[in-house]
Symmetry: C2
Subunit: 370 residues, 2 copies
């Protein structure tokens, strides 16, 4: 018997018209290692927004129930040329109950279980997922497992990446995000030094309350000085940044070099030899990244993405990471949400305008059957 | 008997006053592994200019014989805080004849020989150098060996770095420079693919005449297209850039991603997984480096400096590189100069104004006894 349900699709035409709409879809029977999951909850992560909203003008868009049509201005439209005309699903991750499975033992074993999954089309009433990527949630409600993959595995991935590079302290430029809070708990549990940058006093208090010992507020007058002091105390010449655009990475490198320069015994026109390493793992800002020539040549900046990292890390590491997530779902890896919306509500002007700002503490959860 | 001679010193005061002057100096007796070299020729490399001129305003400077006094504007002056008040020598490398040596066998063996050396104060009639860093020039005149270190070892260092990273093709953003020409010869000899970017037709002809098969002119209308085609043909997702500021690296990453995107079978909002790697090894432009969010997350950008590279490469590799330079001094590693100046002439307005522009093909050679 065919399963039908509602699913979100996003299409960008060559002229810059972005159409995001809920449609009725018939889902195929799962085969092999596939499972069919009746979705109960899916978070709207920053990593979902590029495809869902991108640089579209939400103010001038037209909104009808279950649909919005907006214009993506240039040069963003031209930059997204590769997706022109493609009708794409959205939603990296979510949680729900397995209602059918392919013939493999792994898939069959999940029938009837509530699982966290990473289907890539989670804004939907049903999803086809890979059984190997499902995490059984036991008695946990779906909300506990909706965000069990992207943020937890990314935060753990930072700790793993640092370990592989021999770094024992991390700088994180958006400390109070859901991911930042997870990273704070992980670093505390694993004895990794952590410098958290926040933008508000209440965020600083939140992290301090979680036991974060080095929290620096970028809105304070002595920010640059305080940041350098925190780097000096922790040795965090290694960090992760989800902003990408603007001077976030530049500020971090400058503070790192400031600390390294203080330790130099002789002047060098080339700056210090202290290796400084930053990773951009998101694009909260699509402005260009600005790097000033003020920290010599001893630095490296890379993009960082979860899936390529998991591939390079290997099965053993990934298995260990996933077990740790499952065992600490409501503690280390707990997420919180500002608002729950169904598929139609997520495409209203109010909701879109709010969640597309990606403000810390304002994450949305899609509950497609509510 | 004490040896005296003229030497250049550069001093930046806290108020931004830059004083560069030739002074009479008494040189110490060489001890241990040191040699005293009577300098005959020293090139003015881009890497020397930061300390010699930096961002000083040469138009409003005051010039007297053997001296100029200029103002370094903010924020460059504040950025050079670490050298405020320090009286610094200049000139990374040069060549001359060893006239005295310390007691070590290595040093003694060089007495009377013409050598290439890396004293860090080569704008001088005499230098104290480390015998281990001297390259005996045999019958070569000093001019042949004046630039035997910085450019040759840097160009060879690129090839070594690429090999260590498993890259078999290199993109070089300033192909027609002295260093670029050396790199062209090295890549041809070693079977490494090379994409050379130039800015003028005559530079393209020069490199083509040297057998460079992929030369792209950034002034041509189809530059971006031609660059992508050259990257596609060579597989050069790996490159070196001496400009640093502006969009030089950004342009390279964009073209690399363009090639990688063509090979993708499915759309990904994150861009391709093709690793792209660039190194900034100079600062011909002190503008900020601009990186646009248009090539996903599969990229890494690092600073690259010769001395830290040599330290990490180890003695065997460095020894092999130095032998190759010595054996190919007037072929693979030949340099050419536009003009020869003595120590006083190098501080005249005409000379400073020209060589501080660091134009391709306009390198100066300092001949302190002429």
């Amino acid at each position: 018997m065919a399963t039908t349900g509602k699913q979100l699709f996003t299409t960008l035409d060559a002229d810059g018209t972005l159409t995001v709409a809920i449609e009725d879809v018939t889902f195929p029977e799962p085969v092999g290692n596939q499972v069919l999951v009746k979705m109960e909850a899916a978070p709207i992560n920053p990593s979902d927004l590029a495809i869902l909203v991108g640089a579209a003008d939400l103010e001038t868009a037209s909104y009808t129930p279950g649909k919005f049509v907006a214009t993506v201005p240039e040069p963003y439209n031209a930059g997204a040329k590769a997706r022109h005309g493609l009708k794409l699903p959205a939603g990296n991750e979510g949680a729900g109950t397995v209602v059918a499975a392919g013939e493999s033992d792994t898939a069959q074993a999940l029938v009837g279980q509530r699982v966290s999954c990473v289907p890539g089309h989670a804004y939907s009433q049903y999803c086809i997922g890979d059984a190997a990527m499902c995490l059984p949630l036991g008695d946990h409600p779906a909300e506990d497992g909706a965000s069990a993959f992207v943020n937890p595995m990314t935060a753990l991935g930072f700790a793993e990446t640092a370990r592989m590079d021999g770094a024992d302290a991390i700088l994180h430029t958006v400390g109070a995000s859901n991911l930042g809070q997870m990273l704070t708990r992980i670093c505390k549990e694993d004895g990794i030094g952590l410098v958290n940058i926040v933008r508000k006093d209440d965020q600083a208090e939140l992290l301090a309350g979680m036991g974060s010992t080095h929290v620096v507020n970028s809105a304070s007058d002595d920010f640059q000085h305080a940041l350098a002091a925190a780097i000096e105390e922790t040795g965090a010449f290694y960090g992760f940044d989800p902003i990408g655009g603007g001077r976030s990475v530049d500020t971090a490198f400058k503070a790192m070099e400031q600390v390294a320069a203080r330790r130099m015994t002789a002047y060098s026109r080339y700056g210090s030899n202290q290796p400084k390493r930053m990773f951009i793992y998101g694009r909260l800002s699509t402005d260009p990244t600005i790097l000033t020539p003020s920290y010599g040549f001893g630095w490296t900046l890379s993009g960082w993405l979860l899936f390529p990292f998991l591939q390079s890390a290997g099965e053993d590491v990934v298995g260990r990471m996933r077990n740790r997530v499952r065992e600490n779902l409501t503690t280390t890896f707990a997420s919180s949400y500002k608002r729950r919306v169904d598929l139609d509500q997520m495409l209203t002007k109010d909701a879109l305008t709010e969640y597309s700002k990606m403000k810390t503490g304002e994450k949305y959860l899609v509950t497609p059957w509510s």
